[in-house]
Amino acid sequence: MTRPKRVTLFIQCIVDSSFPEVGEAMVKVLERQGLVLDYPEGQTCCGQPAFNAGYRVEAARLARHYLDVFEDAEAVVCPSGSCVNMVRHHYRELFARDARLLDRVERAAAKTYEFTEFLVDVLGVTDVGATWNGEVTYHDSCHLLRGLGVKDQPRALLSKVRGLRLVEMTRSDECCGFGGTFSAKYPEISEALLETKLANIQATGAGTVVGCDMGCLMHMQGMIRRRELPISVRHIAEILAGEE
């Protein structure tokens, strides 16, 4: 895709309701790129929580809502790999038998981008002029990495942040154990995965873990806070919005 004139924000439900500062950080980074942003007020959720739990009729209701809200957008940018993966890859499973909707799904799939892939692949930018002092380690979210194939883009962006040093953790591509409703239904297993993840983060010695998905990040932060571990958690937008 060529550089769009106007970028439409999709601020997914958990960022909208619980982490609005992450959405604002993304806005800051995009505006610094000279983009004109708009935010359709009707937007809510892509439907992923229902889809992953098996509730496809319910997920389809939200998918239709998404298609309506973003019908006229030129390019949609969202600070989450898993929401974009839902739109790009799973919507078509929901409407496999509906040719007319499928056509709209394909259009939505083609124009919905995850934040870092939009910066690097569409805008061709890796240096966003950010400064952030300290060592960080990067967690590859499952759906961002394996669903969208986004692995190098966040690292390229982080490598250009002044003052920041990226220390890779062991198995950065391994799941943190969130998995949507799984985390509450199977807490023992979910926590076991999270413990492994946090141990790998701590072993890097970096004080901060960075990721592109608030689902994973709030999951990590949940245990970090409960156990009072000395790790801070940042969405990549917050790092990229950082100034001296």
């Binding site: 609005p20 809510t44 959720c45 739990a53 154990g177 509450a184 239904k185 245990m223």
Partner: protein, 480 residues
């Protein structure tokens, strides 16, 4: 040993505490699991190896009737017997009948997950036939009276010290934890059994219809003794585990050994397909191939799940699955564990009975990425969950939770109207004041969300949503 997939949560909760288990599985992950993809890429098919193998499997499975017919004809032409068993009971009955005809008193077995699936050992023992596993790992779990905990490495959950104790107890040998000494002890005990067994039973890893042979890979050599020394040899093979041509067979074999054990080829590759011929110095008097359906043709008939029959049973998905790594194989309550077990077992044993297997994963996708035939297990897990959500007549599934269905239904209605969503968020924002907090985050959540706050704090709703902040910003800008 009784295996019950309904105990998944309970068994997993115990297994996550087992540091020893995690250490053993972690080795498997680092040595085999995380190297498999690199090994596939070294093949002539390069980065497209998995996709090429998937296409081979797809063609075979889509034409399974013709491929199987060819295999059956080829084996019969060489003097082998072939039995098509529709159910587990049918397969067991056939094996017992052959054993009876040969007046078998002792059976030696090569490793076979299918024999675990049809519970053959129990039936043989009940018929008064001593049944001895000859794969070292299988032998260890058999001595212990346990089921295998990994498709390829049945005793992966044991340390050498534990094996030493087990051998001392069961074989009456002095305790040692030295692996070569332990192997020699098992070898001695097993050789005696192999030399005196009347019947050998093994599981096929794959087969080739064109040439009419079954292929068995191993690293211990025991399988060759099982297949050649006793008077009669039975091979168990799932109906889907066949290749049409020798070329297909080779493509799949080289992916299989890489995926299963990180090997370019296993130490032994045996091709069997008939009784001893006149000119041959050894081999069984009779050869039987038992092709087991046991629910597979039902899967074959459903285009949504047919893909799971592409599986070559390498166990590769176990070795990268963070859930399997944390809970081990026994938690699944089924011979097939890990991601492949979580899809295959519900489809053969009942989706409601196996609801934990369908729901107890994160859908992280690591299994799909390592699978030598690119099986989309997360897609099928997600689909199984949808059968549980709404029920399904074809698969005879009852809705798993009407309450959950109601909750998601109500949630989706609220979420498809921004006004309702805002109203509910405002309500929840007021309500969350009642919840205990520390440093801003919530310590305890009520109801089904309580699972989260068992060991993790939960983020509170922000005082103002992004939408509210955006609206305020827009108003301010218009005022400028």
């Amino acid at each position: 040993m009784e295996q019950n997939p309904l105990k998944y949560k309970e068994l997993a909760a115990k297994a996550v505490q087992d540091k020893q288990l995690h250490k053993a599985l972690g080795k498997m992950r680092d040595k085999v699991g995380r190297n498999a993809v690199k090994l596939y890429k070294e093949l002539p098919t390069g980065a497209g190896s998995r996709e090429a193998a998937k296409e081979v499997r797809r063609k075979i499975v889509d034409n399974l009737d013709v491929v199987l017919e060819t295999l059956i004809e080829s084996i019969r032409a060489r003097g082998g017997h072939v039995h098509l068993a529709e159910t587990d009971a049918d397969a067991v009955e056939y094996c017992l009948a052959v054993a009876k005809r040969f007046e078998v008193r002792r059976v030696v077995k090569g490793k076979s997950m299918l024999s675990e699936e049809i519970r053959l050992n129990d039936a043989l023992e009940a018929a008064g036939i001593e049944t001895v596993e000859t794969d070292l790992g299988e032998y260890i779990v058999q001595l212990k009276g346990e089921a295998p905990s990994h498709i390829i490495a049945p005793a992966i959950h044991y340390t050498r010290e534990q094996v030493g104790e087990l051998f001392a107890e069961k074989l009456g040998v002095p305790y040692t934890s030295d692996p070569p000494t332990l192997t020699a002890m098992a070898r001695k005990a097993l050789r005696e059994k192999m030399l005196t067994a009347d019947m050998g039973i093994s599981g096929g890893n794959t087969a080739c219809a064109e040439t009419g042979h079954v292929t068995i890979v191993s690293n211990e050599g025991n399988i060759r003794m099982t297949s050649t020394m006793p008077r009669v040899h039975i091979v168990l093979l799932g109906i889907e585990k066949v290749a049409a041509t020798l070329e297909d067979h080779d493509i799949l074999l080289r992916m299989l050994t890489r995926a299963a054990a990180g090997q370019k080829i296993s130490t032994y590759v045996s091709y069997v397909g008939g009784p001893r011929l006149d000119a041959e110095p050894d081999g069984p008097e009779e050869f039987h191939l038992v092709l087991v359906d046991n629910g597979r043709s039902r899967i074959l008939a459903d285009p949504d799940f047919r893909e799971v029959l592409h599986c070559v049973r390498c166990g590769g998905c176990l070795n990268v699955c963070p859930v399997y790594m944390s809970i081990g194989g026994h938690s699944y309550g089924s011979p097939y564990c890990g991601p492949i077990g979580a899809v295959f077992t519900p489809l053969t044993r009942g989706i409601n009975t196996c609801h934990h297997l369908c729901q107890g994963e994160t859908l992280c996708g690591a299994c799909k990425e390592v699978c030598p035939v690119d099986n989309d297990l997360p897609r099928m897990l997600s689909l199984l969950r949808s059968k549980l959500a709404d029920g399904d007549r074809r698969w005879n599934v009852k809705p798993h939770s009407r309450i959950e269905k109601l909750i998601f239904g109500a949630w989706s209605v609220v979420m498809s109207h921004r006004g309702l969503y805002d109203a509910l968020t405002a309500l929840a924002r007021a309500g969350q004041r009642l919840l205990p907090r520390r440093n801003g985050w919530i310590r305890h959540l009520p109801g089904p969300l309580g699972g989260w706050t068992r060991g993790r704090d939960f983020p509170p709703l922000a005082a103002k949503s992004f939408a509210q902040r955006w609206a305020r910003r827009s108003t301010a800008r218009r005022g400028e």
